[in-house]
Symmetry: C2
Subunit: 350 residues, 2 copies
């Protein structure tokens, strides 16, 4: 978005809703060749370049999904777009368009709305997607953001959660628990601030953890690298709620089991040390922490040489028969059943 | 959705979120041939049969967009789907897929969620669209529903708000102000109920008005009839906020003016008499009442014979030069400038 496009609140008062949306949309540029109709009509229209279209939508609510005490609006805009794109990338699709609807209470001025949209626009630019929909409405109190996005995917590249077979390699992009460590730091400083508002938070040396929490990156680079290597994963999932849930999602959909090696879980030294200083078991944080938005996927053993050429990917385990379940092998060689919030025990009829 | 698929609250407590979504999704059947991946993966995937894909998304908030005091959840589910489909139909696109995300507070039990989803499913079945996405999350208080939908459209049929030319006929589907009259009745009975909860509301003979407010129908029949007549409108808009806003949306996008004849505005006798009994000027209700979800569109004069073959369509005016603005010609032959909430005065740079 352009920076010279700031509306004063006075201007906003003289504008109707349709004019306001038109003003806020001025900074959005249609750059993706597949966009036919963008903001300003009843619906967006695209001419997808691929045979398949992937669609993802997410709903984000203040004080449930984000806390504006410490989340800058620009980062929040970036994050909600990144998370929605991550869902498309997990299908091995490439994001092309995004729409955003926001319900805003009178706590927010137009500068705030524009900062949030700047963040959305920056994330879209980074993955070469267009903002094609924008609507604003009144909220009684909380800020509510709804994001939907489309992406392109050829049928031969489409990767579902189902599709993993026994002995295939279990891979992940990036590193884990950094976003969770960042969240813990932010929550700790919030508590300090609530007691004494004069204390300035000290995040020296923790930038990486904060950025992983506040401004996660959609892993388009991984999907592009896989395409360069002509490597199509057999199954893939967005790691949104920790490694445990992701692993169980692939296993359940594929009707398989899997083994995960604790010592193979990628984690930065900074994350490890920060979690240690906070008395958090680092592997628990990686398994259940969440907000990583990395990709977990499975590849055939025959693709071992190819996967080595994809940067920022680690092999963390492999697929087993269904009856094995999901197991963690700890660094001291113990076997522990992997559990995740949101999953009940497998039931009889499954 | 199947009716034999009711979860008790006890069952819900023993289910994780992923199981719960799986249970609630059991009643959704994939029937549209273009659906490749439905609920249960990171994103939905479709193989559109048309070159263009239309995408619409809407955010609905309790006590802003709906009042659960008098809106049955099944009707609410139907309505949020119908409204979102209306946005696609207004592009001359045919709905194919829909996703719904809901934030629910602990005021709601699972039966309530299932009723709402039953309504969504019924509306989808009526337009032969599939429910391909479902997510549930916690809300602190209000029910919040986010709906996004995709539809198919060939480029030659695509109809934007822009495209109307001078002397073209201004047409609308259905009749107007019935939904607004229904809203006024419901609001009146709510006030009576608040004073005396023992009074039963009396809506005898008002069924049509209530159904237009509570359970609007997406006008797929109009889009299909236009296709049968091989008639492509030059411009089209979803009449969501009254005739005035719709007219101004077409005129502004097309850089044209328009004239609307009061006596041509279609309205049932029931609507007219009910508004009269409520001391509401019926034309004001049609212009600014909202919630009609009818289509307004323009056709070439040469298509006059064809448009007569499309059922439930009225010619209400015609397109004029931009300088004329948007004018209403009243039944007693006065000319009044049409104004709509959400629009400011046209500004110098337009």
């Amino acid at each position: 978005m352009q920076d010279n496009n700031h509306l004063s609140n006075e201007e906003v008062l003289t504008l109707g809703k349709y004019d306001l949306i038109a003003e806020l949309s001025k900074g959005f540029h249609v750059e993706n060749g597949s966009t036919v109709v963008g903001i300003g009509d009843d619906a967006a229209v695209t001419a997808p370049a691929s045979e398949n279209v992937a669609s993802a939508s997410r709903l984000f609510m203040e004080n449930v999904h984000f806390d504006l005490t410490y989340v800058p609006l620009r980062h929040l805009g970036y994050k909600v777009a990144a998370i929605t794109f991550s869902d498309l990338l997990a299908m091995n699709a490439v994001p092309t368009q995004l729409s955003v609807n926001m319900a805003i209470s009178n706590r927010f001025d137009m500068k705030a709305v524009q900062e949030l949209l700047d963040g959305v626009a920056t994330c879209c630019e980074n993955v070469h997607a267009d903002v094609v929909g924008l609507d604003l409405m009144t909220s009684r109190r909380d800020l509510i953001i709804s994001v939907s996005a489309n992406g392109e995917c050829e049928p031969a590249l489409l990767t579902k959660r189902a599709g993993a077979s026994e002995n295939e390699l279990l891979c992940v992009s990036g590193d884990f628990a950094a976003a969770y460590a960042g969240l813990l730091l932010l929550e700790r400083e919030k508590k300090v601030f609530e007691v004494n508002p004069d204390v300035q938070p000290d995040f020296t040396g923790k930038d990486y953890l904060l950025s992983r929490q506040l401004r996660p990156e959609p892993r388009l680079d991984i999907v592009e690298a896989l395409r360069r290597e002509e490597l199509v994963p057999t199954a893939m999932v967005n790691v949104a709620d920790g490694l445990a849930a992701a692993m169980m999602q692939i296993c359940r959909a594929s009707q398989k089991g899997a083994v995960l090696f604790e010592e193979r879980i990628p984690m930065t030294e900074l994350t490890f040390n920060t979690l240690k200083s906070l008395d958090i078991v680092h592997t628990v944080a990686a398994l259940n922490g969440g907000d990583d938005y990395e990709l977990m996927f499975t590849v055939k053993q025959a693709d071992f040489e190819k996967i080595k050429n994809v940067p920022n990917v680690s092999i963390v385990g492999y697929i087993k028969e269904k009856e094995y379940g999901c197991q963690l092998i700890t660094s001291d060689n113990h076997q522990i059943e992997v559990k995740a919030q949101g999953f009940s025990k497998m039931r009889a009829h499954e």
